[in-house]
């Protein structure tokens, strides 16, 4: 017997939760306990009184599983709202990466040139290295990092995706 898995589609979920101890563990634990995927997760406090946090989760699964994920998240006591931005339509996704590249000579020049094309900012430099800051959707960040691998990439830090729906409406 072989174990098979279903292929899924990528969904970006925006979740608002009470900003209290254990909430993040409750949410990530739900994903592990029920076998759902997390491609990325970001969380930060978003209200002036620090009572609410917004979590953005990029997940992957067949449509019925995505529906279950939303229902399961929604019934957690500290969860205020769950919105499937992918399902809602037009939304903006961004993530930031810090990319450290080391090298000298042509590779160093090439790295700088490509950073310019990608509108990455140089936020630190030594004689033998750069740190680039790049902002964009995940694809753009992926492509930039792939190119930097050819130019002496030594380290990457990524924030994961934050996303928000287009238009004037709030969640």
């Amino acid at each position: 017997m072989k174990i098979t898995t279903e292929t899924g589609e990528r969904h970006v979920l925006a979740i608002t939760v009470d900003n209290e101890a254990g909430v993040l563990a409750k949410i990530t634990g739900l994903f592990t306990a029920r076998g759902y995927n997390i491609e990325s997760l970001t969380v930060a406090d978003i209200s002036s009184d620090h009572a609410l946090s917004r979590i953005t989760i990029v997940t992957n699964g067949p449509p019925p599983v995505i529906d279950q994920i939303i229902a399961q998240l929604d019934r957690l006591v500290p969860v205020h709202s769950v919105t499937d931005l992918t399902d809602q339509g037009a939304h903006v996704e961004r993530e930031i990466a810090l990319v450290k590249v080391a090298g000298t000579g042509d590779k160093r020049i090439e790295a700088l040139r490509m950073a310019d094309v990608f509108r990455a900012k140089v936020v630190d430099t030594t004689l033998t290295s750069f740190i680039f800051e790049i902002t964009g959707n995940s694809d753009k960040v992926d492509r930039f990092i792939a190119l930097m691998r050819e130019c002496g990439l030594v380290e990457v830090g990524r924030t994961g995706v934050v996303a928000i729906a287009r238009g004037s409406e709030a969640l």
Binding site: G22, A25, K26, V77
Partner: protein, 584 residues
């Protein structure tokens, strides 16, 4: 608004919330609360012998009364021992509040004596949990916890209280009105969904009601409404293990339980129906059998208070989110307002009667007085002997549980207490303790297997201490019968570790705890033995020796469809392919 210690606040909150009974076990980290409970005038504390039993007793209390069960245990092992019962309550949607002691806040995270990460450990086996770091928060948290445990889909809530929070003083406050800022379950069903449900039911030619524990949780009125709706529509009705009692088993619309050990007629009706009306049931794998063959011809209406139950396993055509009782009432009102009359379901009932004719619950037996007792016969004799006594029946988990579900008839809700979702061996006896505490004048019987009973047998001491007249009726076949049955079905009868070796002498054990012990060996002794058990005041343990190798039928084997039931023992093949073996 009064200044008092955290421990006093806990007790005050219990009083304010109408709690009369707490099941627990003391220890270092809850001593302040135990001191506050000392000789308390209204709150009765039941001292169990193991914290797991406290949680099951609280479940028994809750299931038999509809009120939340309350548990008080210490930190570390007290909390970890409670985890099985907490998980059981989560899977069976039992309202429960568990208070756990914790090491002082100053020691949290230092691997202190009897420290464990209780909120971490119970995060995914509770509906919600709290770690209280400030005594001022105790009042609001206690009240909120009871609200969450009992509203929407009920479940267990843990409140972890560090010892210094119990000792420190603060202000006790009671929220005037609890409206949680994020937890607001939908109770009232959507009118459009109800209207659609009424039309679907009115149009159905082969409808069947499939009901579950949600009807019990919705309160006794929901069972009344269910009976009314079934009578109005004239449709047959089946139920899950957890839903038994919501509909009377002696009604001619009743098909018996469905699922793996359900009746042939219930499963065939599900398979051939053109409409399934699921009420407070969650399409569990024990109910559906092979999913791609589940109810292929049926449209499905799913009434459930938990949105996440909808489309979780079986996609449905119409979802009605809300309290089962209110949804049933709304459907009845809609049905009557539309002037619907029950359709002529004669053709459907003729098919149902055809399936009933297989008499799937019949079993082979010898009738001589010295014959072995068939376990099914023992359950039926117990049922016959207790008719009119309105007993509360609890079970452990295994073959005896299924035989009890098949052969014991229930007429009303809250009389049948069993571990359905988690299938916890060791549940039944402590649950009987809790049910007896809540219903001191009722006949409470735990139908047990000799293996399951031993998982919490230490509670004989609790029963003796509080002089509870609990009866334990053991179907003793000297096997972990359900394990053996699966080994017979799947592993060519290689009985790996399923024999109950070195059993105690249950009669002597009864004697040791000051109980009455009885042994029934043959069919001729069965009725008199049961009569003696019922007539003997105080706790009684009955060691009823039953046919050792009897198996529980009918049965849908692992990975099979509703239509592929094994009706008789000689249908057993003894092997299974890997796909079927891999299923639970």
């Amino acid at each position: 608004m009064t200044e008092m210690s955290g421990a006093d606040m806990v007790v005050q909150a219990l009083v304010d919330l109408g709690v009369d009974t707490v099941f627990g076990y003391p220890g270092g980290a809850v001593l302040p609360i135990y001191d506050a409970l000392y000789k308390h005038p209204t709150i009765k504390h039941i001292l169990v012998r193991h914290e797991q039993a406290a949680t099951h007793a609280a479940e028994g209390y809750a299931r038999s009364t509809g009120k939340p069960g309350v548990v008080l245990v210490t930190s570390g092992p007290g909390a970890t021992n409670a985890v099985t019962g907490i998980t059981d309550a989560l899977l069976d949607s039992i309202p429960m509040v568990v208070l756990t002691g914790q090491v002082p806040t100053t020691l949290i995270g230092t691997d202190a004596f009897q420290e464990c990460d209780t909120v971490g450990i119970t995060r995914h086996c509770t509906k919600h949990n709290y770690l209280v770091m400030d005594p001022d928060r105790l009042g609001p948290i206690m009240h909120e916890a009871f609200h969450i445990a009992t509203h929407g889909r009920p479940g267990p809530v843990v409140i972890d209280i560090p010892k210094n929070v119990q000792v420190a003083t603060g202000t006790y406050s009671v929220p005037a009105f609890i409206q949680h800022n994020s937890y607001r379950p939908q109770v009232e069903p959507d009118a459009a969904a109800i209207a659609a449900a009424v039309e679907m039911i009115a149009a159905a030619e082969r409808p069947v009601f499939y009901t579950g524990g949600g009807v019990i949780n919705a309160g006794p009125d929901a069972s009344v409404s269910l009976r009314q709706l079934v009578a109005l529509t004239g449709a047959p009705i089946t139920s899950t293990l957890m839903g038994l009692g919501a509909f009377p088993s002696d009604d001619d619309k009743w098909l018996g339980m469905l699922g793996m050990h359900g009746t042939y007629e219930a499963n065939m009706a599900m398979n051939r129906a053109d409409l399934i009306i699921a009420v407070g049931a969650r399409f569990d794998d024990r109910v559906t059998g092979r999913l791609d063959a589940f109810a292929p011809e049926a449209k499905k209406i799913h009434i459930d208070i938990d949105r996440s139950s909808i489309n979780k396993i079986v996609p449905v055509d119409l979802a009605v989110i809300g309290d089962a009782g209110r949804a049933l009432d709304a459907i009845i009102a809609g049905w009557q307002a539309a002037g619907h009359k029950a359709r002529d379901l004669g053709e459907w009932w003729r098919r149902v009667d055809g399936w009933r004719a297989t008499r799937c619950l019949d079993f082979p037996e010898k009738k001589e007085p010295d014959a072995d007792i068939m376990p099914q016969r023992a359950v039926r004799a117990l049922f016959d002997a207790t008719r009119g006594c309105d007993p509360i029946i609890t079970t452990e988990v295994g073959q005896h549980q299924m035989w009890a579900a098949q052969h014991f008839g229930f007429s009303d809700p809250n009389r049948w207490l069993t571990s359905g979702g988690l299938g916890t061996m060791g549940y039944g006896f402590p649950a009987a303790v809790g049910a007896q505490i809540a219903n001191p004048d009722r006949l409470v019987i735990c139908i047990a297997g000799e293996a399951s009973l031993q998982m919490n047998i230490q509670e004989m001491g609790t029963v003796a201490q509080y002089r509870l007249p609990v009866k334990i009726f053991i179907l003793n076949n000297e096997w972990m019968g359900m394990v053996r049955q699966w080994q017979e079905l799947t592993y060519e009868s290689r009985y790996s570790n399923s024999y109950s070796d070195s059993l105690p002498d249950f009669v002597k054990l009864a004697d040791a705890y000051g109980w009455t012990g009885l042994r029934i060996d043959t069919l001729g002794e069965l009725e008199a033995g049961i009569r003696t058990m019922i007539d003997t005041p105080g706790p009684v343990i009955v060691d009823c020796r039953v046919a050792k190798l009897a198996n529980c039928f009918p049965m849908i084997p692992s990975g099979a469809a509703h239509t592929d039931m094994i009706l008789q023992p000689n249908d057993i093949v003894g092997t299974m392919d890997d796909e079927a073996k891999a299923l639970v």
